[in-house]
């Protein structure tokens, strides 16, 4: 073969192109990864406002956010819609707005699941349900945490040797500001009373409410890390890590994916003084065979950084 022919044959390789279908799949994967990355950065303290250009720019990346946001669960743009909507929660500057927004998301995605099921699209319905679950997880992260085990102290009789009934800030009636702030129908919020100090007529002022009051629960960032191996003990890349015991139906149902060395890191927030037991599920679909393998690990979170036990993947069924 002479050089001309060889070069001609090589040049023809330059005509090879990524198929449109794969291109779409890769874009969706990148969009999701970008959103997760942006959310992770925001959680690490880069600030919510910084996400505004990120989410706005997703519009360019996705082509048309308007189209994506109207996408139904049986559309290829559904994953983009879910990613955009999830990122949208971080554009709400107040927690109350965010909770209300996430509740709407849960409702609209559940409605979408019902619609798709009724239309005879079980796969699309499952995707919508997975998105609703994902919104619920986000909601759980943002909803006010309830400390039911420690009732708020009532600064009453035992605290003060001279009980003055009118001065006792009992949490009643109009003095419950947080009860309307949380639109969480599933929970009964035990209001932590902010003692509105009406002037106490007695000059002797002991401060029992201050010394015995339960500290207001605060959130702190936590990191959960771990590793996933296959049955042979090798690290596995691109494993979906989820909090759901059922396999994900879309990439957005994964909290994170493992890196090339089989490790994963989840950044979240937790309420101080609360003990959490976490179970994480790992799902991996072999790209060659399509076989699904899974595994799980459970740990109790006692420190800002929790290292999960090793997850070993085993074939399902």
């Amino acid at each position: 073969m002479n050089d001309d022919r060889l070069l001609f044959a090589l040049k023809r390789l330059g005509d090879e192109e990524l198929s449109a279908r794969s291109d779409r799949k890769i874009r969706t994967r990148l969009e999701t990864a970008w959103t997760v990355r942006a959310l992770t950065m925001a959680r690490r303290g880069l600030g919510v406002r910084r996400l505004v250009p990120v989410v706005a720019a997703l519009v360019l990346f996705a082509g048309s956010a308007g189209t994506a946001l109207g996408a139904t669960a049986d559309s290829p743009l559904w994953d983009t819609r879910v990613a955009l909507e999830s990122a949208g929660a971080f554009l709400r500057l107040s927690n109350d707005d965010r909770v209300a927004y996430l509740l709407d998301l849960v409702r609209s995605r559940t409605d979408e699941a019902t619609r798709q099921q009724a239309a005879g699209h079980p796969d699309a319905a499952a995707k919508a349900r997975a998105a609703a679950s994902s919104a619920l997880v986000q909601l759980g992260d943002n909803a006010p945490k309830i400390e039911t085990s420690v009732p708020p102290p009532a600064p009453t009789a035992s605290a003060s040797p001279t009980p003055v009934p009118s001065a006792s800030p009992t949490p009643a009636g109009s003095a419950t500001p947080s009860s309307t702030a949380s639109p969480m129908p599933a929970h009964t919020v035990v209001p932590t009373p902010t003692p509105v100090r009406t002037p106490t007529p007695t000059p002797v002022r002991t401060e029992p409410p201050v010394t015995t009051a339960t500290p207001a629960p605060t959130k702190q960032p936590v990191t959960i890390t771990g590793t996933v191996h296959d049955a042979s003990g090798a690290s596995v890349f691109n494993v979906c890590i989820s909090t759901s015991p059922t396999p994900p139906t879309s990439s957005t149902a994964c909290s994170v994916r493992t890196t090339t060395n089989g490790t994963y890191t989840i950044n979240a927030s937790a309420t101080t003084g609360t003990s959490y037991t976490i179970t994480l599920y790992a799902y991996f679909t072999d790209p060659a065979t399509g076989a699904l393998s899974s595994g799980s690990a459970t740990a109790t979170m006692t420190a800002p950084t929790t290292v999960m036990p090793l997850i070993t993947l085993t074939p399902r069924r």
């Binding site: 060889l6 044959a9 090589l10 990148l30």
Partner: protein, 192 residues
């Protein structure tokens, strides 16, 4: 290659600042050359597509650490692709190099697609048998059409070394093609 470097730098900076659209533009610019590179290093078009996804995900992860040192962004992507391909071949050791399949481009010209796929398989199979350094130089020079100086920049080698690799690579490629050359020659004769 040089023409897009300034624009690439601006896009990289914007992407580093959180602009997803800028990263999307970089993907738009380079997905096809990266795909062809991956195709030459994979055993199937499906695997190459997976690899492209992996390359851009890794590029996204490394974006914060990326520093413009005068190298074009595509050089960075090729390096990411090379490492990803090496990682993958280590993981998938044992997979056949010859199970390459090319999907027909359309369902209209079935015969043309089949002939084309056959040529492609032969050239790709021969290319895959070369050492990675030969394969990269040939791919960048003759498939992507970069100058020897550009390839030297991408691969961080001297230009003279690129000429040598090209020369030796072409010789090896000819030898490989000779073994299964009849099909390629037939295919080329029809095309010309």
């Amino acid at each position: 290659m040089g023409s897009g470097t300034g624009a690439d730098a601006a896009l990289v900076l914007a992407a580093q600042a959180g602009d997803a659209g800028a990263f999307g533009e970089l993907y738009e610019r380079y997905r096809q050359p990266v795909y062809r590179y991956c195709l030459a290093r994979s055993s199937s078009s499906h695997e190459a597509e997976d690899l492209v996804s992996e390359v851009f995900l890794k590029a996204m992860e490394s974006l914060a650490r990326y520093r413009d040192q005068g190298l074009p962004f595509i050089a960075f992507l090729y390096r990411v692709a090379r490492n990803a391909a090496i990682d993958r071949s280590r993981r998938d050791r044992g997979a056949s190099l010859f199970d390459m399949t090319i999907e027909p481009r359309s369902s209209v010209d079935v015969e043309g697609d089949a002939a084309r796929a056959s040529d492609m398989e032969t050239v790709l199979a021969a290319l895959r048998k070369l050492k990675p350094e030969y394969r990269e130089v040939i791919l960048l020079r003759f498939v992507e059409g970069y100058s020897a100086a550009d390839v030297a920049t991408v691969l961080d080698k001297a230009e003279k070394a690129i000429w040598n690799l090209q020369q030796r690579g072409l010789e090896r490629l000819r030898k490989e093609l000779k073994r299964s050359g009849a099909q390629v020659l037939a295919g080329l004769a029809v095309d010309r």
